[in-house]
Point group: C2
């Protein structure tokens, strides 16, 4: 009983001293969110023991005492499946954890000593860290709040390049046969919408990211609900606005417009209202190497998707988000993941490429005075760098095990430090191999610069 | 354009004349909800053509002109999968449709002629019928609104008979090792709760119905959320209330109590508030023959579950539901389904048994002046009655095809017209065989008394 009372008092004091932080982790699917969060929890739990965290000042100074998982505050949000993820990484053979679906969270309490003048160690303090994992695809829905159905139709048509058109052939044919002034047949609309969702899924499978609406890819409880049964109409635009707006409520145009509007109000807004505006810090993970590997149309698509996604962090006073939800994120990290898939001397190029890819959004963020840092990292390093003799020269190489279990020594090639020009794609200068997680001999997960990311995201709260 | 305008005006007038009806269909899992709704839509669409609907007055009088599916009003609710269900019934071989999960809906417009004096036909009129399908398990959560965590723990312990205890062995062992005043470990609670959910699922598989909380069986988007990670604590009761309430917030007892409370407020209440209070009519389907087949503990359990379920329709002025949500259901049907699985002369016994099973709730409903009718029906009749010579006597038998595809002629036995006494179970007087749906030669689904159900549920709106 005594122990409980102490704990309660302690919580009260902690809240009074503002020692709680909500850190959100996002990224488009396959960017590596689950591996990042798993490694983050793992590193903090092994801080002061096996974990190598020299770039995190509190750890370097020996002030990080450890971390514990405790009960999360939001009872209606799934728990982040840390144990299942660690079980996968500790399997024989080790496997990458299964991707999370939707939002999940986990609360840590981090115990540390405070800093004193002249390097003296101070009192013990506790930081309560809420980690929230959510699909970056949800942020791609932000523009829907600024669009109405007609302007969204126009905008979506612009994103359909040659390959997306090929992947969307069945939908394009079905939608092409519809006229905005047809009387809506709910069954038929459901069919065409199913073609649209299939096209979105096929595009995602093929590596595309700039896909709207985000929930079509992970419908959850809304599966088969009319709110997820809309799609852009083709070949309509502002020029026809008056004519379209005059159509009756039972028309295809008005029916789809109602569903679009319902989606904005009952799917997009609740995410920003109930979750997003409560985040203090955010890290966005980007699989820039994967996109580089996948060719020019997908790289261009990633660039567009990231531009859209980053707008959720642009807190210029006039921004839509600010007006609607007053979010409070005060520090942002953008990380290129899977840095272990290229040799270490290429890491600066990875960061430079990420910054080039995000040049426009980064300008906006700096103008809006949002502290932001770009870095490259590997949540769980699956390779070891090796210097090898090759055709008479010393070259940097990587040693790792492929997903199929083959031990290999690779030269992954050079990462361009700026947006690749036409001739890069023509030369196909970059070959990316997927590795399986390492067979570990020690308790700590090997990583690249997780400590640097932690220092930027929570370091100032550990002083 | 002309057509649209006419439609809009028409809708306005219909709403003005109160010609909309929301009819809800529920039942415990495997009671036959999907088959019922599919047949209901099918019969109305074939009214005036092949469908046999003589017990529905409007059809008998030739005033039913047909029905069409139109866009449903609730965009966030999944559509009832009528086409998929019909495709299953029309398959080779025919199959029962896949059960629905969660809530779904479908809107029909029914065209009919109004009645005039001396049997003359009147004007054409339209009834807009919203059909809503939802799991009866959700109604079993109603008592949670009256309980707090402690009284719920006590009530749940009373439901654990010998067989439920056997099915819950792993959970009982895990929960038995917990003390209410332990400090809560979120991981451990998640594990024990997983055992509890597994025990509930195993109990349902074994034919039990009185299972709380209902969402543990169909978690949807709440999978892995702490709100679905509670369970009753054993061996606690009112006597310990003061002591338990004094425990700190971090104790097992208080943690589970918070989750229980969150479940009440954020899962149970929203269903009643957002859906239930908008229903005009309700039919509850009961697989009384299946329970009869499964033995005494399960029959007793069904009786208890139905007692709980029916309380959602008891609108006595002092009832909890009335105080909280002011529901408006003005007519109720209770139907024993799968009547085609016994010979026709047994049908009155099926209804008598259903009424005996529901004796207490029916008394309450009649006292509360809720019009209620008990009947037996088969949504899709899978058998044909035959008179056969057996051991020198003429006996009623059933001809049908088993799920395995074997054509059989059966004597299913007699249904007791009142609650079976001990000797009924000892004699094991009833043998229930599951049949596959019929291979149809005509367009209309064969049924038993679907027309009687329709007449009670919507007949008065077709005059």
């Amino acid at each position: 009983m005594r122990r409980h009372l102490t704990q309660e008092l302690h919580n009260l004091i902690e809240r009074g001293r503002d020692r709680q932080l909500r850190l959100a982790v996002t990224g488009l699917s396959r960017a590596g969110k689950t591996a990042f969060l798993t490694s983050l929890v793992h590193q903090l739990r092994h801080a002061g023991l096996e974990a190598r965290l020299d770039l995190l000042r509190a750890a370097r100074e020996g002030r990080l005492l450890g971390a514990q998982r405790v009960a999360q505050p939001d009872l209606g949000v799934p728990r982040f499946p840390y144990d299942a993820a660690m079980a996968a990484l500790d399997g024989t053979p080790p496997q990458w954890p299964a991707p999370t679906r939707g939002i999940s969270e986990l609360r840590l309490t981090i115990k540390h000593r405070t800093r004193r003048a002249r390097g003296l160690l101070g009192d013990t303090a506790t930081l309560t860290l809420d980690l929230i994992d959510y699909p970056g695809e949800w942020l791609l829905d932000l523009p829907l709040l600024e669009h109405d159905f007609l302007s969204w139709c126009e905008a979506q048509q612009a994103t359909l390049g040659a390959e997306r058109q090929r992947l969307s052939a069945a939908w394009l044919q079905a939608a092409g046969a519809l006229s905005p002034d047809d009387t809506a047949d709910e069954n038929h609309l459901a069919e065409v919408a199913a073609h649209y969702a299939t096209a979105l899924r096929a595009s995602r499978e093929a590596g595309f990211a700039d896909l709207q609406p985000g929930r079509f890819l992970l419908p959850g409880d809304l599966e088969d609900a009319p709110v997820l049964q809309f799609f852009p109409l083709l070949d309509i635009g502002e020029a026809q606005r008056a004519e379209l707006e005059a159509l009756p409520g039972s028309s295809v145009y008005k029916t789809l417009a109602r569903r679009f509007d319902h989606y904005r109000r009952h799917v997009v807004k609740p995410f920003y209202r109930d979750h997003f505006r409560r985040f203090d810090r955010q890290i966005v993970l980007v699989d820039v190497l994967g996109a580089l590997n996948a060719g020019p149309e997908r790289f261009e698509d990633l660039s567009r998707a990231l531009g859209t996604l980053m707008r959720s962090f642009d807190y210029g006073k006039r921004s839509l988000l600010n007006r609607l939800f007053s979010p409070r994120i005060d520090r942002l990290a953008i990380a290129a993941t899977k840095a272990d898939h290229v040799t270490p001397e290429q890491h600066p190029n990875v960061v430079a490429l990420l910054e080039a890819l995000l040049a426009e959004p980064l300008k906006d963020l700096r103008y809006a005075d949002v502290p932001v840092k770009a870095l490259s990292l590997a949540s769980v390093s699956a390779t070891e760098p090796r210097d090898v003799e090759h055709e008479g020269r010393r070259r940097a190489a990587l040693r790792g095990t492929t997903l199929e279990g083959e031990d290999v020594l690779l030269f992954p090639g050079d990462v361009p430090p700026r947006l690749p020009a036409h001739d890069f794609w023509a030369r196909q200068g970059f070959a990316f191999t997927a590795f399986r997680p390492p067979q570990r001999d020690t308790a700590a997960l090997p990583h690249v610069r997780m400590d640097a990311a932690l220092d930027w995201l929570i370091g100032d709260k550990l002083t």
